[in-house]
Amino acid sequence: MRKQATLRLCLPVMTLWWREMVRFCRQRSRLVGAFVQPLLFWILLGGGFSASFRPPGTPEGTAYMEYFYPGIITLVLLFTAIFATISTVEDRREGFLQAVLVAPVTRSSIVLGQALGGATLALVQGILFLLLAPAAGISLTMSGVVAAVAVMFVISFGLTSLGLVIAWRMESVQGFHAIMNLILIPIWLLSGAFFPAAGVPVWLQWAMRLDPLTYGVAAFRRCLYLGNPAAVGEAPSLLLSLVLTVLFTGVAFVAATNAARRSAA
């Protein structure tokens, strides 16, 4: 009896999660967009900057390709979250989600299914990217991989939730590009994914300090170098980063649930 009640509660979450998995596998173009594009960015930007840019605040000899590596994985997670967001807006107006909204399920279970779906897809792509660590000059330890995967999951769950906060408030995808360029991309740019905080002007340092994703990237970076913390250079501590990342993810999820609840259709 108890088992049945639990199943009933989990059923909508599971079914929405599973739908995301199936859809992703049937839309190859999404894989290209979310995986190949960041890969190109990493090779072109990383390679291009490596001659002129030695990231300050990192140990002697850290190549830009290596510094940029955790950042580009974060971009993979961000792109997947953006995809989930755009599809939610369309889905809600004239697609599958219309019917979900009149089904006897709570809005929080809808958001949970969506966020878990988005986070899982992001995680799969992040793990694929993790295989490229040797190419970046990073030697991973087993515990480092486990920790990095866990942090990736928390970050992508948080980013998807952040995207859903926007998606549930938007009436059409028209305005989404503006929001993406004004909110989501700057959050990534200022997170220490692209350049370190060391040596930048004070105002920019503050902006980076206030960016929640800074702590996600820092936690991820520290996990990658779990066996060799000295190689990280200047970055917020692991404990602080973990606490703030989990906090950000929790707040984003609650905000997404509220946005979904307030949304009429």
Binding site: T15, E94, Q98, A99, V102, A103, P104, V105, A264
Partner: protein, 317 residues
């Protein structure tokens, strides 16, 4: 018909003084009606008449800003969760996922209504067979024709055996054949399972197949009744005359025949007990002035014209 349910005597839907405003704009201005079990009730009206707002409220997407809606005795404003399991909603835009197969769509739907496992599997198969979709079950929805997609949409909604169907312009985009086919499915559903159906439409032929029709105009129900009674309110035949100068001709006809002629979209509309004789009289009386004339039994559009002084669609369609 199975009439053994205990709450069978309660109307399926009771709406009283329903109002809805978007800011300053009043979309519904006091709508009152009730629908009995097993009734097919259509809301006919032009775009902007309030149909979509009414649909959104009845489908639990949006709470009304005034008045009350009771579905199976439950107040929609406070007990929508009690109503939802018994409600099936068909949207104007498809809610099928085109990437998934027909069966996958139905399975997801079942999960959302707390069905799973073998029970859901057999329910899905039975519903697809019932709607004649058994052989397309494992095809992706995007490979189905428009008519079959619409039928699959209905199949999806029927998986959880709703007692009330609320549909927004259900035959949008269907050719007349597919529309007829969809209608037959609805009638069978009503006969076999006593499902109550509320639908909005701007199509005359769709409205005429309903048991009762409510005419929605500017947020109000300006008429309500079975299609024959509504059409009976129009006196006799409806004669439509096209002339070079309809206004002028209207005045002359009023003088000569003492009948009320109104000009709508450039054509003269006259109600007359005996259409074919009147057409001959008019043609004889104004030689050369009549470009063409038709007469026929009144349709629901004529009812709408009589009530509102305008056509359902602003252009001849």
């Amino acid at each position: 018909m199975t009439k053994a349910r205990t709450d069978m005597d309660i109307p399926a839907v009771e709406v009283e003084g329903l109002r809805h405003t978007y800011g300053a704009r009043e979309a519904l201005a006091g709508v009152t009606f009730s629908a009995m079990r097993g009734e097919i009730f259509g809301f006919l009206g032009p775009n902007g008449g309030g149909k979509t707002t009414l649909f959104k409220i009845l489908s639990t997407l949006m709470p009304p800003t005034g008045g009350s809606v009771r579905v199976f005795g439950h107040d929609l404003a406070h007990e929508s969760q009690a109503v939802r399991p018994r409600l099936g909603v068909v949207f104007q835009h498809p809610s099928l996922d085109p990437q998934l197969t027909v069966t996958e769509n139905l399975m997801h739907h079942g999960h959302l209504y707390g069905l799973w496992g073998r029970a859901l599997h057999s329910r899905t198969r039975a519903t697809l067979d019932q709607l004649g979709l058994g052989d397309r079950a494992s095809d992706p929805v995007k490979t189905l024709s428009g008519g079959l997609q619409r039928r699959a949409e209905l199949a999806k909604v029927l998986v959880h055996r709703p007692e009330l169907l609320v549909m927004d312009e259900p035959s949008t985009g269907l050719d007349p054949g597919a529309r007829q086919d969809f209608n037959t499915v609805l009638r069978r559903l009503r006969e076999q399972e006593n499902v109550t159906i509320l639908l909005t439409t701007h199509l005359i032929d769709e409205a005429e197949q309903c048991d009762r029709v409510g005419v929605l105009h500017q947020g109000r129900l300006v008429a309500m009744g079975d299609p024959d009674t509504l059409k009976g309110s129009v006196g006799g035949d409806v004669v439509v005359i096209w002339a070079d100068n309809p206004e002028d001709m209207g005045v002359k006809m009023r003088e000569r025949f003492g009948c009320e002629a109104s000009v709508i979209d450039g054509a003269l509309h006259v109600e007359h007990p005996c259409g074919h004789e009147f057409v001959r009289e008019v043609v004889d009386a104004f030689p050369g002035a009549v470009k063409s004339a038709t007469f026929g039994r009144p349709t629901l559009e004529d009812v709408f014209i009589r009530l509102t002084g305008r056509r359902l669609w602003s252009h001849n369609a």
